[in-house]
């Protein structure tokens, strides 16, 4: 039953709350995706995994990565939104990300960033919460007053028109890919620091044992 403890962590309740919104939106794909991710987290929590240093590979070769992301954005931007080409390109990245996150090792406890975060995390949480609630209020307003949707635009309504041109899609994809790479770098940083602490603790324990043996 220990795998259900993960439901006490923030990620699962947030995913389930988002699932409810997607049910109201009548979006089957998003509902399955969010509910499925909550189930994936639950399943993953029950797995015996090795503690390690983040995902395989390393976030180096910046220029190669930047060139790759630019080429990806330029090519995928040729396909208009919601076309087979755009969907295939997004799904390919999604599958790669899923393989990376599911296959990656479990994080090794708290990272070195913990001290740097302190109590100030609430500032970011408050901004995120206000943005989410405002987006939700726009969505609800659109449902309540469908004839007056222009007065309550969701972020999608504002960004969507920018993605009708190649340049708009190129910029969006470039930012999205860069955000994904940055996320990966932070993840690797968290894992590496966690693993370093894990290794340091193991070395310390080993040294203590050797001293005691003497």
């Amino acid at each position: 039953m220990s795998r259900w403890r993960v439901w006490r962590e923030p990620a699962v309740p947030m995913l389930l709350a988002a699932t409810v919104v997607h049910i109201v939106r009548r979006d089957v794909f998003d509902t399955v995706l969010f509910a499925g991710t909550a189930l994936l987290i639950t399943w993953d929590a029950g797995r015996a995994r090795q503690v390690g240093a983040g995902p395989p590979g390393r976030a180096g070769h910046r220029w190669v990565v930047a060139a790759g992301m630019t080429a990806y954005a330029a090519i995928v931007a040729l396909a208009p939104a919601a076309t087979v080409g755009a969907r295939a390109a997004m799904i390919a990245v999604g599958l790669a990300a899923a393989a990376l996150v599911v296959g990656g090792p479990r994080p090794a406890g708290s990272s070195g960033a913990e001290a740097a975060v302190g109590r100030g995390w609430w500032v970011w949480a408050a901004i995120g919460l206000v943005a989410c609630l405002w987006e939700l209020s726009s969505f609800i307003s659109q449902q309540v007053w469908p004839s007056d949707q222009a007065s309550h635009p969701a972020v999608s309504d504002l960004v969507g028109p920018l993605l009708t041109s190649w340049f708009g899609r190129f910029v969006f994809l470039l930012l999205w890919a860069a955000a994904g790479w940055w996320l990966l770098a932070q993840w690797m940083g968290a894992g590496r620091r966690g693993a370093d602490r894990h290794i340091a603790a193991a070395c310390h324990s080993e040294t203590g044992r050797s001293e005691a043996d003497r």
Partner: protein, 66 residues
């Protein structure tokens, strides 16, 4: 009302930028976004959730065309 709605989105975006600037260049006890993220990513559930949320943003705008 449309202007107010958009203004609050812009205010949230500005608040994010200002928070990061304060975290980097002032003595305010606000963590940098990168530190916050590394702290959050200690948890396996957050790793999976954050990666999925990132991918979904791309899908939402370009895959599903919402």
């Amino acid at each position: 009302m449309r202007t107010v709605t958009i203004a609050l989105y812009v205010a949230c975006a500005l608040a994010l930028v200002i928070s990061e600037l304060l975290a980097r260049y002032s003595r305010a006890r606000i963590p940098r976004l990168a530190d916050l993220l590394r702290w959050m990513l200690r948890r396996r559930s957050t790793q999976i959730g954050v990666v999925m949320a990132w991918w979904w943003i791309g899908w939402h705008f370009l895959g599903s065309g919402a």
